[in-house]
Amino acid sequence: MLPIKVKKRASLLAVFLTVSVIGIFLILSALNKNILYFNSPTDIKFKQDIDFNKKIRIGGMVKKNTLDINNQEIIFTVTDFKNEIKVSFRGTIPNLFAEGKGVVAEGKLKDKKFFIADRILAKHDENYMPPELKNIIEENAK
């Protein structure tokens, strides 16, 4: 069997590890709300105390056929397929911003259904493929 000294050290380490894991778990669960980089439209809907003067981030998919770009502003709808928020934005958009793609908008809520963004970030998904393949998939879908 192992010497007693080794056993002592192993148990000391196990106790230390367990305590620190529990500690970090508690810290993270207390901070859970703040770690979220953005809120989904559903989060906004059920949130009780919304500060309309504070900058927040909302995120989701740009709903298809809702993107409207005119001279003054860009209007689109962010959806998480349960709830939606309309977003208005003036400024430049990143390259990957498109209908049906993920988006994160930074700005202020006007009310629970309307959001005025002053910064738009594109959130891309985990799919990588060559363009030819994408065309084939799209043709098959038709």
Binding site: V6, R9, A10, L13, F16, L17, S20, V21, I24, L28, N32, I35, L36, Y37, F38, N39, S40, G59, I93, P94, N95, L96, F97, K101, V104, R119, I120, L121, A122, K123, H124, D125, E126, N127, Y128, M129, P130, P131, E132, L133, K134
Partner: protein, 236 residues
């Protein structure tokens, strides 16, 4: 079992392995880079900026796996007091720090054209910065604490604490909503990355691992020489 490490033949072996890696490394690097930068297809959405992935992803993997290795070896050293394990962790730490920094910097450069920002305080990126800080503390411990036993003990505590961060980094994209996209390459289940891009990625990972081995062996050799010069009678 560990006689290989104690034997002074180890110098000859290290020299041989370094020479061997040196002879193949640049050829492999050229092949890997030409596949990553020229022969692999652009992405359907991101175009050519996807090529940053071939450095970013392997660098992040190496950053994570070296810390896991350091944590594992530190625990083994703490429990069984195997004398040369601290030398290994000491040699791995700078490599891990370098690749973690590479992952953060390339990710930031990649973020600008795709997301539209260099920096975001989302869970994945922040936890990666914390990993870099842990590496930094590890290296500083060995630099500034001259009593070796003390330094090894403190480094062990740092490594164990830092190892809790590893699963947090891995699962941060699933537990919380982040700007960073979820993992494309899964150990179980199908990867969402096309094989024509996956192969160069894995090859680049292999090339960077070779580079790590090279740096590690050089550093490990210096560490052993340093110990021998100190006349601590650890290798007889």
């Amino acid at each position: 079992m560990f006689s290989l490490f104690y034997n002074s033949n180890i110098f000859i072996w290290i020299e041989r392995i370094i020479k061997f890696i040196n002879s193949i490394f640049f050829i492999f690097l050229l092949i890997g880079l030409s596949f990553a930068l020229i022969f692999s297809p652009p992405d359907y959405l991101q175009g050519d900026s996807v090529r940053i992935m071939y450095v970013h992803v392997p660098a992040a993997w190496i950053g994570l796996s070296s810390f896991s290795l350091i944590a594992l070896l530190s625990i083994l050293h703490f429990i069984f007091k195997i004398k040369n394990l601290p030398l290994i962790t000491k040699s791995v730490a700078p490599i891990g720090l370098m690749f973690t920094c590479i992952a953060i910097v390339t990710g930031s450069i990649w973020g600008q054209p795709t997301w539209g920002t260099f920096w975001a305080w989302d869970a994945r990126i922040t936890s990666m910065v914390i990993l870099a800080l842990f590496y930094f503390i590890l290296i500083l411990t060995h630099k500034f604490i001259s009593d070796e036993n003390k330094a090894n003990k403190i480094a062990c505590v740092v490594a164990v604490l830092g190892s809790i961060n590893i699963p947090i980094i891995k699962y941060s994209v699933e537990w919380w909503s982040t700007l960073h996209q979820p993992a494309s390459i899964k150990i179980t289940g199908t990867s969402t990355i096309h094989p024509s891009m996956l192969m160069p990625l894995l090859f680049m990972f292999f090339v960077l691992i070779l580079y790590c081995a090279l740096i590690f062996l050089m550093k490990y050799k210096t560490e052993i020489i340093r110990i021998k010069k100190k006349n601590l009678k650890r290798y007889d």
